[in-house]
Amino acid sequence: MFSLQGITSGIQSFLHARFSASGVLIFESLIVILLATTLFALLGLVLVWMERKVAAQMQIRLGPNRVGPMGIFQTSADTLKLILKEGLTPDGADKLLFNLAPFVVMVVAMLLLAPIAFAKGFQVWDINIGVLYITAVSSLSVIGILMAGWASNNKYSLLGAMRSGAQIVSYELSAGLSILTIVVLTGSLQLGDIINAQQNGWWLFKGHIPVIIAFVIFIIAATAETNRAPFDMAEAESELTAGFHTEYSGMKFALFFLAEYINIFIVCAIAATLFLGGWMPLHIGNWQGFNHLMDYIPSSIWFFAKTFALIFLIMWFRWTFPRLRVDQLLNLEWKYLLPISLFNLLLVTVIAILGWHF
């Protein structure tokens, strides 16, 4: 059966036979860098194309259909255009921060890739505080956005960046609290442990009502954290032209654009890991026959299928719901999501203590 675990351990032993410990580390780091960059480029191309197709279908349109079959090369052509364009820096801008901001956003997205398990035994770094690491690092991306907004020397950009700040400060809370429900049920912050705990069923099914509430809240908060419609206050085309990246052009704009899609992938991957068992196939309790049948589908396919299903859900939100006003956005978080998730955390703690989950 196809397994990425065999490949990784094969490379590990191959390198260990030839190099010293530090040499192995360097080579493995290089391989990881190569893989991460490739994944980013591929995801950018695939997700942008997917978004445009999904958007078109939902609005009774056709979407890209000229460059290649079904327009699959449209995003490559767009990327080529953006690479060839001049990356302009405005006169009044803070040159250093302006040019640094897109890279900060990208680096944050790359850092978040570390603890995600893409398949069984295919994980960059199974850190023992994985969930804490994710919540801590994911809120850093707002710094890049604030840098971009401030350095652009443009009122639209600054307003967009400030909105983004208010948004992330608010929605981090309920995202964190809904992640905590899974931590309470598993008793571990390590993503590997969380996945293994879903051996006999995903938390979404095992944890029933409170976990479903937490899942819904997490998806809402994740949509808000990635600055996507209906929470795209930071961009808000109709109000702030393009918000924090108004002044960006060429490849620097492309980096922001790419980072948005990478962030979607990452939050969906995290949601899939926590609530839908990551690479764990669909197992139902002790039905041995059914579980074995499901094991025949490779774990990487399970992971990507779940992640892309969630990405589709978030795209579905974007092309259905109207954008919220800033006050409605903060109302939703502080008056609804936060009290509900606090109550939900209490409920899940009671359930975990009394063992009322499956």
């Binding site: 939902m58 009774i60 056709l62 579905w316 259905t320």
Partner: protein, 158 residues
């Protein structure tokens, strides 16, 4: 009571959001609903909407006869001088002079497709055509004569 209102708010909000998602989800799984026309490719089969207004045309029947009496109601109704009617006097067999249409001049470049001339016409001599491929290399080619050469007014139209 506050809690009841709070929960019903959440319920109604969720319900209305799901209603919207049901609609877009329906469109997503029903590609036959797509209304996009792939224009240059489907030029042969392109069907314009009935109410589409592309240009003013004057229908002629098989005997090269039209229904225009040359009354200039359309010219008066036109808000931006798109139409100019040139009349002549026909001599009837009884020896009487009768006003008739000589040339119906239509400036397509000035027309806003407002349909006022068609509404003003007492004999339904003109109507809105469906053709929209009007681009030409010379502006003077947009000046059109709507009555065909040699055409005359249909019998019985007053």
């Amino acid at each position: 009571m506050f809690l009841k209102e709070y929960l019903s708010d959440i319920y109604h909000a969720t319900k209305s959001l799901l209603t919207g998602m049901k609609r877009t989800g329906y469109y997503f799984v029903h590609p036959k609903e797509i209304i996009t026309e792939q224009y240059p490719d489907n030029r042969e089969t392109l069907k314009m909407a009935d109410r589409f207004r592309g240009e003013v045309i004057m229908p002629h029947d098989a005997n090269n006869e039209h229904a225009c009496t040359g009354c200039t109601a359309c010219e008066l109704a036109c808000p931006n001088a798109t139409i100019k009617i040139i009349t002549k006097f026909d001599v009837t067999p009884e020896g009487k002079k009768k006003k008739a249409l000589d040339t119906f001049v239509y400036h397509l470049e000035l027309c806003t497709m407002c349909n006022l001339c068609v509404e003003a016409c007492p004999t339904d001599a003109i109507k809105m055509g469906q053709n929209f491929e009007h681009s030409v290399y010379d502006r003077s080619m947009l000046l059109k004569k709507l009555n065909k050469p040699g055409s005359k007014i249909r019998e019985g139209v007053e």
